[in-house]
């Protein structure tokens, strides 16, 4: 499958006096997994709806593979909305084929692909059941399949893991990675920061209708480093602390008898080597690790500090 790129340029959207999106631009590389993060009400869903052509922007443009958004694009997009729902009284097999046909797939092809999915997830006996007979987890799985059945080139998943137990969440995560391997461009909108760190290559953080962060995950984490290290050692805490002197700051420490876990900040341009040189004579080092802020921390930090847009 040839992968498609997505480019959102200066999109703004207002609803009845409330500004949902304010000059937002993002760029998604072909075949990558892109995380769309932000607190509730930030504007993520509005942006997703615009990409899906459910609503249109007040200003700005959206390009898929450098082509301006047109109705044909809906056929290559798979969308899993945050608020899930299916026709309750319709049989599952029938319904999924119907939804795939809405996306331009032929009935026969949808039928055979669907069979494949049912076998993969081992849910063949559910073909003739009605949606209302399913448990919530089952319904979520079904919904996921219906999103990807027509083999979309651009997949937009809004909170795909919510409502899944850990086993099924893992299942979905594997499917997402599998799809990425096949070349699908994936946009993941989520609060689940662990999955962001695990699967996303690039992210954008939207807050209060503006984009406040964009970049690759590693870049961003690196950007938010604050030169913190975690050192575990056995020995005398006081001696250790003295050794730090003015070049390093002891942020906090936890002690269990002779074992101490300290968080140390590098000061004055000193690096890890200097820290080790300074402390080696005074303690038996067990482990040293750089503390890189998690996406969760960065999210909370950025959002609560109301950082202005980049």
């Amino acid at each position: 499958m040839s992968s498609v790129s997505l480019k959102v340029e200066n999109v703004s959207k207002a609803y009845a006096g409330h500004q949902a999106l304010n000059d937002v631009s993002i760029s998604v590389d072909p075949g990558s997994v892109y995380g769309l993060l932000g607190p509730n009400g930030a504007g993520k869903t509005s942006l997703i709806r615009i990409i899906n052509q459910i609503t249109a922007p007040d200003s700005g443009h959206v390009y898929i593979d450098n082509q301006p958004l047109s109705h044909e694009h809906t056929q290559i997009i798979g969308y899993l909305p945050e608020e899930r729902g299916l026709y309750k009284k319709m049989k599952i097999g029938e319904q999924m084929i119907y939804l795939a046909r809405l996306k331009g797939m032929t009935s026969a092809l949808a039928h055979s692909k669907l069979k494949g999915w049912f076998e993969k997830f081992e849910i063949q006996p559910w073909w003739e059941k009605k949606v209302e007979e399913l448990s919530k987890g089952m319904a979520q799985k079904i919904q996921f399949i219906s999103t990807v059945l027509h083999e979309p080139k651009l997949l937009i998943l809004d909170e795909p893991f919510s409502g899944f137990d850990p086993v099924n969440a893992q299942l979905i995560r594997n499917e997402i990675l599998e799809l990425k391997r096949k070349g699908t461009t994936i946009i993941l909108s989520t609060h689940n920061m662990t999955s962001v760190e695990e699967i996303c290559e690039k992210i954008a953080l939207i807050n209060k209708s503006k984009k406040v962060l964009e970049g690759s995950v590693s870049e961003i984490r690196a950007m938010h480093k604050s030169d913190l290290y975690s050192i575990v050692f056995t020995g005398n805490l006081l001696a250790f602390t003295n050794a730090l002197w003015a070049n390093f700051e002891l942020v906090n420490s936890i002690s269990e008898g002779q074992k101490h876990i300290c968080t140390v900040r590098l000061l004055r341009g000193n690096n890890l080597n200097r820290l080790l040189e300074a402390t080696l004579p005074h303690a038996e080092i067990v482990s040293v690790q750089e503390i890189i802020p998690s996406m969760n921390d960065i999210f909370v930090q950025t959002v609560s500090s109301n950082t202005p847009a980049i």
Partner: protein, 429 residues
């Protein structure tokens, strides 16, 4: 439900008829004629009887006994009589008597007894006071029938009035159809909204397409159901006719019904009337190809008009309880048109009938009455205008509904006011 409904309906009709025929109370009436106006005494039988032959005849369901004095109240209560009629010589002047009952009689029974007394007294007056031959007297009454004729068409007796009545049947059908199925559209829209599948569907198709699909789809279901009902009702009616003619309606029951049913409402007469030429003429006079064709047009047109509005209502709210505030103004013209249609039967060429057959929201039921009557060269333009206006209204309403639908289906949690809805029309896509 499609198959069940006509069967249930026929069943209900049969049950109703059965109940009315088997439920006639038996009455034993005591007529207390203080002044012996209508009563005579038979010394051999040692009892009183009605001296006018043919009146107050006892039947299976009602018996009459006569006296010139009234029993004690307790005797009456304990006795076999269910009703007591009493009057004295003043009845000719004040035209009043009493009907004393143990258990309230049905209106039909009371009326039947009253009529019996009326006609008996009348006969006495005519034959004894006026000394006239009763048959001659009956001929005094001259029920005149004025045959209606259109100046444009004086050769034929006009059956326009009756034709209008037939049109009314179609009006009723249209009214119910629109009422039932437009509401269905609304419910369908709300269902899609509440189970959230809307967002996925709208990511593949345009909201307008979805709305039209819903309206047309439900309309087709309605049409199918409708034709099935017609077919099944026909079959059941045919079966019913056979059953009735074969003896379920025997003479005793008919007589029982006769005493219990007021004049003009006797069911067996309906079949008799059908056999009469007059009604046949009416049926021949109606331009059936035009009638059926236009019936379908107004049927579908009226449904599309109201269906679009109902789709908009469904999109604007989150659940069925919120629909009330919007449904009332939408349903008002529909109900109103039903009443105008009834009025049009009484006054088919009146102004109200003309005006409201042109207004798109009231046209379908009202037009049915007018089409049954037929149009001449002078008024055919009204039919054409009505059709054009209806089509125009459908286009406008669908456009308007589409705008409201587009915004409404994604809006949750708000209960919009009319002003808000109006703003939605102008939201960009």
């Amino acid at each position: 439900m499609t198959f069940l409904a006509p069967v249930l309906f026929a069943g209900l009709m049969a049950a109703a008829i059965w109940v009315s025929t088997s439920d006639t109370d038996k009455h034993h009436v005591l007529v207390v004629d203080y002044a012996a106006i209508i009563t005579a005494y038979d010394s051999t039988l040692n009892k009183h009887y009605c001296r006018i032959p043919g009146k107050f005849q006892s039947t299976e369901t009602i018996t009459y006994d006569f006296r010139t004095s009234r029993p004690d109240d307790q005797d009456f209560i304990d006795g076999p009589y269910t009703l007591m009629v009493e009057f004295d010589e003043g009845i000719s002047e004040n035209l009043a008597g009493h009907l004393i009952y143990k258990k309230l009689p049905s209106i039909q029974v009371a009326q039947s007894i009253t009529r019996e007394l009326e006609s008996t007294l009348e006969m006495i007056k005519v034959t004894e006071e006026l000394e006239m031959d009763y048959e001659k007297y009956k001929r005094l009454r001259m029920p005149i029938s004025l045959v209606q004729k259109d100046i444009q068409n004086q050769d034929e007796a006009s059956t326009k009035q009756e034709q209008a009545g037939v049109g009314m049947v179609f009006s009723i059908i249209i009214f119910f159809f629109i009422f039932l199925y437009s509401a269905q559209v609304m419910r369908g829209v709300i269902e899609e909204k509440t189970n959230r599948i809307l967002e996925i569907i709208v990511s593949s198709v345009k909201p307008f397409e979805l709305m039209m699909g819903k309206i047309i789809g439900i309309g087709l279901v309605g049409l199918t159901q409708f034709f099935m009902w017609i077919g099944l009702s026909f079959v059941i009616m045919l079966i019913g006719q056979v059953v009735f003619e074969s003896g379920a309606l025997n003479s005793a029951t008919v007589q029982g019904m006769n005493t219990g049913v007021p004049e003009g409402m006797m069911q067996p007469d309906f079949y008799a009337a059908l056999a009469q030429n007059e009604v046949f003429n009416v049926i021949l006079r109606i331009n059936w190809p035009l009638m059926i064709g236009l019936f379908l047009f107004y049927f579908i047109g009226g449904y599309m008009l109201y269906g679009a509005l109902f789709a908009a209502i469904g999109a604007a709210v989150d659940n069925e309880t919120d629909t009330q505030q919007f449904m009332t103004p939408v349903m008002l013209p529909l109900f109103f048109s039903y009443f105008v249609a009834i009025m049009s039967v009484q006054n088919p060429e009146g102004q109200a009938s003309t005006i409201f057959s042109l207004v798109p929201f009231t046209a379908p039921p009202v037009m049915m009455v007018r089409i049954a009557m037929g149009f001449d060269s002078g008024t055919i333009w009204q039919l054409i205008l009505s059709i054009v206006l209806l089509i125009g209204a459908i286009v406008a309403t669908t456009w308007f509904a589409g705008k409201v639908y587009r915004v409404g289906i994604l809006m949750y949690g708000k209960k919009p006011s009319y002003k808000e809805l109006w703003k939605w029309v102008f939201y960009k896509g």
